[in-house]
């Protein structure tokens, strides 16, 4: 057994298998999306992609979904970073924080969405508390936090769902890295804030980058949250795709595939952007 055949067995073959198992389904689905959008499958007309690219409803949905994903991921990230920096130093607190952060993770997205609905709708728990405190008398006086054009309810649900995940990632990165670099910086005269800003934060962000991209792309394509919480106008992108897909006119199917292709392109661009930034740095 020489080195090259050992290399083949332990590295190349598993890599090929993993690549095939993951890659083939992805390529097949994207291939089908393209075929559907161009009208090659499913009895539909071609030209759907062109139609969708010029349809204002599609762009409004894209903007809404991008807003939800960006705002939700950003707030979850900032919250996770703040908590990680506060609790990450002390080893016991760190362990406790990791356990607490892991608690909401198994909760399904739909359950989080319904919980937010029960809390924040105009007839929900917060609204009733406000009524008890005589701040409002009718449900309509409570601010519209769900089914609203800024998708506040959806963003709250996103933060609730994703902050624990990002926090776990941040905490494990922190504990792995140790405090050697920070100590060195402090010895050289940096204030705690300077040390955090120039060393800890960049290192954390670089380590968390794949998770941030994963969260962003997940929220971009998530159907359950908009289904329960999001406005009807503009409609979130996954809802628009589902609506066109289930409509009975044959043209709508091709539309749905075309919009799904646009959504996939958005997700891919995010991942590519991350790759580019990473290789630049």
């Amino acid at each position: 057994m020489n080195a090259s055949s050992r290399h083949a067995r332990t590295v190349v073959v598993p890599l090929l298998m993993a690549g095939t198992l993951l890659g083939v389904p992805i390529l097949v689905s994207i291939g089908y999306l393209v075929a559907g959008a161009l009208g090659w499958v499913g009895n539909t007309s071609s030209g759907a992609v062109g139609r969708m690219l010029t349809d204002t409803a599609v762009w409004r949905s894209v903007m809404l979904s991008l807003w939800i994903a960006t705002a939700g991921t950003a707030i979850a990230l900032i919250g996770a970073l703040m908590i990680a920096l506060l609790f990450g130093r002390d080893r016991r607190l760190d362990r406790l924080a990791q356990r607490v952060a892991a608690l909401p993770l198994p909760v399904p997205t739909v359950a989080t969405a319904v919980a937010v609905l029960l809390l924040l709708s105009q007839s929900g728990w917060l609204s009733r508390v406000a009524a008890q405190m005589h701040l409002i008398t009718t449900p309509a006086q409570f601010p519209a936090l769900v089914y609203d054009p800024w998708a506040i309810g959806v963003i709250v649900a996103v933060v609730w769902k994703e902050l624990p995940f990002l926090l776990l990632v941040a905490l494990s990165l922190q504990s792995l890295r140790g405090s050697a670099l920070i100590d060195a910086a402090r010895t050289l005269g940096a204030t705690p804030w300077q040390a955090t800003r120039t060393i800890t934060l960049p290192l954390l962000l670089r380590g968390m980058a794949p998770s941030i991209v994963a969260v962003f792309v997940f929220v971009l394509g998530s159907l359950e949250l908009p289904l329960v919480l999001a406005p009807s106008s503009p409609l979130a992108l996954p809802m628009l795709i589902q609506e066109r897909r289930q409509a009975l006119g044959a043209d709508s199917h091709a539309d749905a595939y075309a919009i799904a292709l646009i959504a996939t392109a958005l997700a891919l661009s995010t991942a590519l952007l991350h790759e580019k930034l990473r290789s630049d740095a």
Partner: protein, 413 residues
């Protein structure tokens, strides 16, 4: 080295055998299936005999726990006991069915998985146009003789003739739901409803999906001389004229709707929730009896009542079909007959079970059955059946529903 090579040889043979097995399984020939159209020519007893000991996979809408309970816990055990058929209900409706059957047809799959489908309206139309349904078969069912085939609601499915390709199962009629405690004097016509909405801003809305569009269709009929105006196939000019009037009304009502008409709840469940929580004062349902069944389930207040507008609301029938590649058409026919029989129709109509209307004609039934049906319908909270019939309006061509839904999404939402 030798052991390595033997090891590799063993692994390669195993993989090779696996691949061969998969190929063989894929090419396996299935026993020729009996089509419903052929079985319909045989005596009924022989169809029942063929179905004994078989399994029927039924694709249906599984979104209502009450319906699921009726099918899984009442119908399935009885079908097993009486006919020896294992009934398995799985999820599948509308577009999904059309798509899957189209793919199976294009792939030349002569035997599919499902033998029975729950369908109506546009789905039936799409399946028929593409020759995805087996038939005709429904007229040979023994219980078919009891069906109210003179009713325009049952004999036409969205103006399409079932022609024996689907067997009627139940009927529903759209109704508004109001809370007697909050709204003791509800509006009775479309005009009164419009006035009520303007007098109570922010307390009315309708949903974006099927029930909302059906409600709008009823208003469309009322504003344009009745359902008769739209009978006889899709007429684009008539549609656009009617739509213009309807959308003008909706535009003028917008400031008085919930959230000033800028947002609409996604579906009937969300609408019921807004109604139950006091954000709005009316809900809508495709089944007039939901005022009772949902109140019993605790989803809406116990003081809820159904309201059928005097301008008429849309009633329609839902049916059972057999796909062209059903593996067990005999079993499907026996199950369809069981569900059409008075026992199952009565059980289905109980408010504690599902409260879905029957397709049977009362005067074709023996007296004892008529008494039983009367006692089930005799709830003071329900809309009396003669009012229901008087205000029932049939569905028209499915194209109207499609266009109205699309245009509403484009222009109003």
């Amino acid at each position: 080295m030798p052991s390595d090579r033997r090891h590799t040889l063993k692994r390669r043979s195993a993989v090779g055998l696996l691949v061969l097995a998969v190929l063989i399984a894929g090419c396996a020939r299935h026993a020729p299936r009996a089509a419903a159209v052929d079985l319909a020519k045989l005596p009924w007893d022989s169809v029942v005999a063929r179905a004994k000991g078989t399994t029927v996979v039924w694709r249906m809408w599984r979104g209502d726990p009450a319906v699921n309970a009726f099918v899984d816990h009442w119908a399935a055990p009885r079908v097993l006991a009486e006919y020896g058929i294992m009934l398995q209900a799985v999820s599948g409706q509308g577009n999904e069915l059309v798509d899957q059957l189209t793919i199976e047809q294009e792939a030349g799959a002569r035997t599919g998985t499902a033998s029975l489908l729950w369908i109506n309206g546009e789905t039936f139309g799409a399946l028929r146009t593409r020759a995805l349904l087996d038939g005709p078969w429904s007229a040979v069912l023994p219980s078919a003789a009891l069906v109210d085939s003179a009713s325009p609601i049952i004999s036409r499915d969205f103006e399409q003739d079932p022609a024996g390709f689907e067997s009627p199962w139940g009927t529903v009629q759209l109704a508004l739901i109001y809370d007697r405690a909050r709204t003791p004097q509800p509006p009775q016509t479309v005009a009164e409803l419009v006035a009520w909405i303007r007098a109570h801003p922010g307390r009315f809305t309708y949903d974006q999906s099927f029930a909302g569009t059906t409600f709008l269709k009823g208003v469309l009929y009322a504003l344009n001389g009745g359902a008769g105006t739209y009978a006889g196939g899709f007429d684009s000019a008539k549609y656009i004229a009617g739509r213009t009037r309807l959308f003008a009304l909706l535009d003028s009502l917008e400031p008085s709707l919930w959230r000033q008409g800028t947002q609409y709840p996604p579906d009937v469940a969300a609408l019921h929730r807004l109604f139950a929580n006091g954000e709005i004062d009316f809900s809508i349902s495709n089944n007039q009896n939901e005022a009772i069944t949902k109140a019993m389930q605790g989803v809406i207040p116990a003081t809820s009542r159904a309201l059928v507008l005097r301008d008429g609301t849309i009633a329609n029938t839902h049916y059972l079909g057999i796909p062209f590649n059903a593996p067990n058409a005999a079993g499907a026919m026996v199950v369809a007959n069981f569900l059409l029989a008075p026992g199952a129709q009565l059980e289905k109509q109980r408010p504690t079970v599902w409260a879905d209307g029957t397709v049977l004609r009362m005067d074709k039934l023996p007296a004892e059955w008529r008494l039983r049906f009367d006692s089930v319908l005799n709830d003071p909270r329900l809309v009396p059946s003669d009012s229901l019939r008087a205000y029932a309006r049939p569905e028209v061509s499915p194209r109207y529903h499609e266009r109205l839904q699309d245009d509403w999404r484009r222009m109003i939402r």
